[in-house]
C-alpha cells in the first residue's frame, strides 16, 4: 500500500445555479475512514464522483498525494476503487471476461489470472465466472462491482450504497472488505444507512455541511 492522502478543500457543487452542497472540506490518509451521509438528493453520489475525479467541482478542489507527491487528476483513478449504483459492467461479457478486459484496458500488469480468480472467489462469484453478466441477479452484479473495485488493490476504496441488493453473505463480505481497507488504506462510504455509517470514524453530513 502507498502512503496516500486526499484533501478536499472548500468543495462546492451547483447544477443549473442550484446549490447541491457547499464548502465540504476534509483530509484523509491511510488508516482513516469517512462516512458521507445525508437525505435523498443531498448530493452524496455527486460528492463521491468528485472525490473519484469523475466530476469537476464548481468551486474548491480535491487533491491527492502519494508519498508526498501530487497526483494528476487522470492518475487518481489508479489509486481508487469505486462501487456505485451508477457503475455497470458489460452484459455481453462473462464475469471473468469483464475483469480481464477491464484490467487490460487499465494496463495493470499486477493483475494476474490467479489474482482475478482469488478476487472472484472472495466476492462469491467463482462458480458463475463463465456466465454472461446479463444472466446475473442484481446482487451478483453488485458483487462483481466489488471484484472490479478491489482488482487493482486500491489505496482508496469508495463505496456508494455499499450493501444495495446484497444478501446476508454479501453484506458480510462487504464488512470484511471495509475492515481490511480501514487498516491498510482509506475507506469512504456514502450511505443513508446508520449501521453502514458506523464503519467510519469521521462523518460529513450533507445538508448540514458539518464534519
Amino acid at each position: 500500500m502507498n502512503l496516500i492522502s486526499l484533501t478536499s478543500t472548500g468543495v462546492s457543487k451547483e447544477f443549473n445555479r442550484r446549490s447541491i452542497f457547499r464548502d465540504i472540506s476534509f483530509s484523509l490518509k491511510g488508516g482513516e475512514s469517512l462516512a458521507i451521509t445525508g437525505r435523498n438528493g443531498s448530493g452524496k453520489s455527486t460528492l463521491v464522483k468528485i472525490i473519484c475525479g469523475l466530476l469537476s467541482p464548481t468551486r474548491g478542489s480535491v487533491a491527492y498525494k502519494v508519498e508526498n507527491r501530487n497526483i494528476d487528476v487522470d492518475a487518481v483513478k489508479d489509486y481508487i476503487g469505486l462501487v456505485s449504483p451508477y457503475l455497470q459492467m458489460y452484459d455481453e461479457f462473462t464475469g471473468l471476461e469483464n475483469l480481464e478486459v477491464l484490467s487490460r484496458i487499465r494496463a495493470d500488469r499486477d493483475v494476474s489470472r490467479e489474482w482475478i480468480a482469488e478476487t472472484l472467489t472472495t466476492v462469491g462469484l467463482w462458480e458463475r465466472r463463465n456466465d454472461f453478466v446479463r444472466t446475473y441477479s442484481s446482487g451478483m452484479k453488485q458483487r462483481l462491482k466489488y471484484a472490479f473495485a478491489m482488482l487493482h488493490r486500491p489505496d482508496v476504496l469508495v463505496l456508494d450504497e455499499p450493501t444495495a441488493n446484497l444478501d446476508y453473505e454479501g453484506i458480510a463480505m462487504v464488512e470484511k472488505c471495509a475492515d481490511r481497507q480501514r487498516s491498510t488504506g482509506v475507506l469512504i462510504v456514502a450511505t443513508n444507512d446508520h449501521e453502514e455509517a458506523t464503519w467510519c470514524a469521521q462523518r460529513v453530513v450533507l445538508g448540514d455541511h458539518t464534519l
Binding site: 487522470d74 483513478k77 477491464l102
Partner: protein
Amino acid sequence: MSVTAIFALVRKDIHSELRTRYALNALVMFVVVAVATILFALRSDQPTSSVLAGLYWVVVFFTAMSGLSRTFVSEEERGTTMTLQLVATPSTVYFAKLIFNTALTFSLTIAVTALYMAVFSSTFVIQTMSTFLGTVILGSLGFASASTIIAAIVAKANTRATLYPVLSFPVLVVLLMTVMSATTKALDGEPFASALGDFQILIGYFLAMTAGSYLLFEYVWKE
C-alpha cells in the same frame, strides 16, 4: 495513455460489437436498402461518373450516420461510461474509439464498393484504382475523425438520434465534396496526379479534425 490500453479497448469494442451486433445490423441493413433503392430508381439509366460518385458517398454518409454514433451512445445507454472513465484516460478512450470507427467506416466503404461493383457492373468501373483506394482510405479516416468527436458530444444529449446527423453534416460537407471529386476522377480514369490536390485536402482535414478533437475530447468526456 498507453498503446496497450488503447488496443485493449479497441479489442473490447470489437468483441462487444460481434456479440451484440449493436451497430453492425443497422449498417448492413442500411447499405442493402440504400443500394437497392438506388438500383430501382436508376433502372436502365446510365448515370455519369459524378452522379455515381455522389450516390456512392451518399450511401456511405447516411450509413455512417446510422452506425458511428453507437460507439459512445451504447456506453451511455448501458451505463458503462463511468466504468470506462475509471479504467482509461480520456486520450486512451478517444484514440481507441477513433481506431474502431475508422475500421468500421473502412469496412463499410469496402462493402458499399463491392455492392456497387456487383449491381452497377457496367457503369461503376474504377479506372484508376490507386486514386480510388487513396480516396477510400483518406475518406474513412476523415469520416471517423469527425464522427468520433460528434458522437461523444451527442451521446450525452437527449435527442441524439436527430442531433448526430444535424451536427455532422456541416462538419463533413467539405470532406464529402472532396471525396466525391476524387472518386469521379477515379471513375473517369484521370491520372493519380490529378487527385493529389484532393488528397492534400483530405489529409489536412484528418489532421486538423483529429488534433482539435484530441484537445477538446477531455472536456466532452468528463462531466
